[in-house]
Symmetry: C2
Subunit: 221 residues, 2 copies
Amino acid sequence: MRIGIIGAGQMARALGGGWAAAGHEILIGGRTPRRAEELATAIGHGARAGGIRDAVGFGDVVLLAVPVPALPDVLRAAGDGAFDGRTVIDCTNAFVPDGSAGESLVLAEDAVAERIAASARGAHVVKAFNLCAAEVWESGNREYGGRRLVVPLCGDDPGALDRVGSLVRDLELRPAVAGGLHRARYLEATSVLVVGLWFAGVDAGAAFPPLEAAFAVPDGA
Amino acid sequence: MRIGIIGAGQMARALGGGWAAAGHEILIGGRTPRRAEELATAIGHGARAGGIRDAVGFGDVVLLAVPVPALPDVLRAAGDGAFDGRTVIDCTNAFVPDGSAGESLVLAEDAVAERIAASARGAHVVKAFNLCAAEVWESGNREYGGRRLVVPLCGDDPGALDRVGSLVRDLELRPAVAGGLHRARYLEATSVLVVGLWFAGVDAGAAFPPLEAAFAVPDGA
């Protein structure tokens, strides 16, 4: 697949590196040309660098891997209609410092993926990869406690969900469709909750029983 | 502790039954007197039944365990100022059917706990116990994969958080403060995401790496 990646930070490196190693063609579109070049070189496997318009024009799939405040400029730089018909992966979280004491982060807005879909005309937006830090996607660990790491996806276009699901599997992760794009806001909220618990030293995953225990007693028993 | 429970359904039975067995005094305040009586009898350990005002007046801690649409009537029935200074546990989720195909539930509103705090004057609201079904709290299983089940709590009053944390431990579960009441909306969103995945047959917990893996590679490595 041809994948355009907008951004040259940790998420771009972690996901782009994995996809390049899996045989996909990568074009890193950077806001800073030098950083895009450096990342493309670091990724290797023929990965190339260019500008934002290059990455959007190149990709069957475009990964948005920039901080949320940069999104409006990036979408504008791509040009009107540039995303039409393309699968766009949104892995961002609108984290900002929580003003109150003892807490880490809150969301600056409650539905980033839906806003992207409203701005990027014709894009098939899929929210994915926002629950874990780049380090996790880069680490090479794919199973914990005998369970393959699950990547929930939210999106409205079946083809786009298939395409992203296939890219999730190419990273040896397990895709799980978690509903339409109107549910992406739940993924965003879950991320800020879970990261807050992790920062506080709590094993957030321990709040979720395994599937076989989640409905332990039949209804009405 | 004296615990007033408003509601006579599965959550009231699961949590009230556990707390009664742990030695707490329980008063079930029902909207339907017969159901409250039946539940108090089923719980045993001296649990009593009464009306909504009785439960609120009785409890150092009051558990709201009714469906979200019933909350306004219940808060009104308690009487003005009835919650002043009391610890109120909100375990509810504003689940409604998702209109779109293939999906289960969405949230009818995005911040139930904050609305309760705004309505119940003087209450110290703590969101808790909303991530798992009543069956889980009732099942007797407290550890999965060697990890004790974590119950995240959101609330603003330190004394109320301590009190609810102690009640979590009395059920042999592990409390984890997840921030102020303004973060309870993240708990609510997480619940609808996770339940949706469970309904779809996905092991939602597998989306969250264990704590030691959540930041697997040092920043900047």
